[in-house]
Symmetry: C2
Subunit: 338 residues, 2 copies
DNA sequence: TTCTATTTGGGTAACGATACCAAAGTGAAA
DNA sequence: TTTCACTTTGGTATCGTTACCCAAATAGAA
């Protein structure tokens, strides 16, 4: 095919099709005014030559990249993956490309990522959470593009917000347990504030317990966040040894909850007979494990879908004020809690 | 801060720092020849103004984007996520950015994605699997950049290959079961060839069974790939009803294997007492579930890390011939198989 | 002090597409 | 036929950075 390594440009295509480069440019845009006949001739010529449209030139001249920058804490998390899926499905019809990066739950890394991304001139930027380094915050404020914070409801948003209060969601779970007559409730989570949403959940747990006048000190720290199944199992082992009279455990995520459940299975501890276990996130495993896990569904895909819809509205000028969209997480009661 | 919406350029920074734009450009590259004093002054000036480097212009002029395009079947799969992690960690020190897209196990979608990506002029492109539409294959062949196919060992690679034979990996599992004296072995997988690696695994199962002179017809089709926990559970229900004398089941992935296991738990079928179950992928759940699942570890992270290393070598000109790197998946024997 | 390396900084053109403006072509109405 | 409204095509300059080439400054050697 294209054996010569010389770069082909629209000028080459234009020459072959007997038109001007300008017309070639138009032929490659769906909505522009070229007669269908010439467009087909041009696309044919381009195909014959093996021409590949060069976005880098287009980006510079048109000052549009069609990139939407998205940062998530981890690429290996089904919840965030669902948000990205919702986002990308909403953006695809408009030809917007996601520029995805993960911060590894590290705000310094997030700052670096945001800086790298802004250099690439995205049309908008979506970040996870409402907490950032001061410099990251400043960069976002001055970026001159729509900024959407997700998975949280920060007090002082940078721009748009689509999320929920992690603390309040956990409070709902605690309220439910207390209503069922439980008092000795524990929380399993990471041992730092690195995962800020995880820390918010723990804070929500403590606040809710205190609001009920209950002991909020049954906190099992299970290593550096994000904690997963293994850490959940280890934490449960410690819980069973140090606080054997615990009646229920709320875990920072379904993954740690499932790990905790497996530890009970290994030790012959009956769930929910002797101990209740709940998670967070409504991962697939929560629904299918035996027993199925009570959890909280924050509708990750919706977060993504609504973020996409918002971005399109803002880019279309249909939305000028900063939006604040609250998602209502749903308590999913299953067998692991009675 | 930067209230005016007018775009700042290097010329603005140059004026403020009292140097030429050319020197500003040098100050933003780490290895170029500017005195440390002027560099600091320039960076200070840039920071004062709120200048943000414009990659789009840089990309065009330098004909380098520092993008590595990567397509994976699904963003919601821990195996592929691990590969991406290995990749991005290997590429980060060189300032290479991953441009990630997912095909949803659809070759037509992969073709569209590849076309979109090539327009952005990446330095290299990594694809999952060795099967593509003819047009996608042609585009990759003519892209003029390194192409790496992963997670497979195709007969006719486009360029470089880093992967393993899915069929052969499953054959190892069958061999093990047969050596243990089992003969009635079933396979649970998706019901189309949409997931080509999944289809390869099923083919490997059939070939291995036939090689042993055993009945290879115990194939449970469990819906449109990729199948996950729920489909695994449904398939197991069907298997237990239609072929109750089955001694062992190999599942196309650990997720479906775990789903199958939960169905056994719901029905009181003892695993491994009455039935063995094995998966593929060595997901975290395989190690922690009760019983732990026998599986095959294809070292997804290694695939990514070695792909990154290969890309760097090729870009450095240290590697000119097409590499063919075979990963050896490891059989992980756990409690679910005796 | 003179002269040769070496470092540091500047000028100019170009990367390849498209925004903007203008002209030519087309068909219907007058 | 002429005019007008509209569609289709072309010409030119430009987006913001950097490759390339060269000059000035500085350092070190003789």
């Amino acid at each position: 095919m294209n054996t010569s390594r010389k770069t082909l440009t629209m000028a080459d295509v234009a020459r072959r099709a007997g038109v001007s480069p300008m017309t070639v440019s138009r032929a490659f845009k769906t909505d522009s005014s070229v007669s269908e006949a010439t467009r087909q001739a041009i696309l044919k010529a381009a195909d014959d030559l093996g021409y590949v449209f060069d976005s880098t030139a287009s980006n510079l001249r048109s000052q549009r990249t069609d990139f939407i920058a998205v940062t998530i804490p981890s690429i290996n998390n089904a919840n965030f993956a669902d948000t990205v899926r919702g986002l990308s499905e909403g953006l695809k019809p408009r030809g917007l490309q996601i520029l995805l990066g993960y911060t590894d739950y590290d705000m310094a890394e997030e700052e670096r990522l945001i800086e790298q991304f802004l250099r690439r001139r995205p049309e908008a930027i979506v970040v996870t959470g409402g907490r950032h380094t001061p410099r990251a915050r400043r960069m976002l404020e001055n970026a001159g593009i729509p900024v959407i914070e997700t998975w949280d409801l920060p007090d002082k948003p940078i721009g748009h917000v689509i999320g929920f209060s992690n603390a309040q969601a956990v409070r709902g779970m605690v309220d439910h347990f207390v209503a069922k007559g439980l008092t000795r409730i524990a929380f399993i989570g990471g041992d730092t504030t690195r995962d800020t949403r995880g820390a918010d959940r723990r804070n929500g747990f403590v606040a809710a317990m205190q609001a009920h006048g209950l002991d909020a000190s049954r906190l099992i720290a299970a290593g550096v966040p994000p904690i997963s199944m293994r850490e959940g199992a280890e934490a449960m082992a410690r819980l069973l040894e140090t606080l054997p009279d615990t009646e229920a455990v709320i875990c920072v995520s379904d993954l740690s909850a499932f790990g905790a459940l497996t530890e009970c299975q290994r030790r012959g501890v009956d769930v929910p007979g002797r101990l209740w276990i709940a998670g967070f996130g409504d991962y697939e495993i929560a629904e299918i494990s035996v027993p199925a896990l009570t959890t909280i569904n924050p509708f990750p895909r919706d977060i993504g879908a609504r973020t996409a819809a918002l971005i399109l509205d803002v880019l279309d000028g249909k939305q000028d004020a900063a939006a604040k969209i609250a998602i209502s997480p749903e308590l999913m009661l299953r067998q692991s809690t009675g």
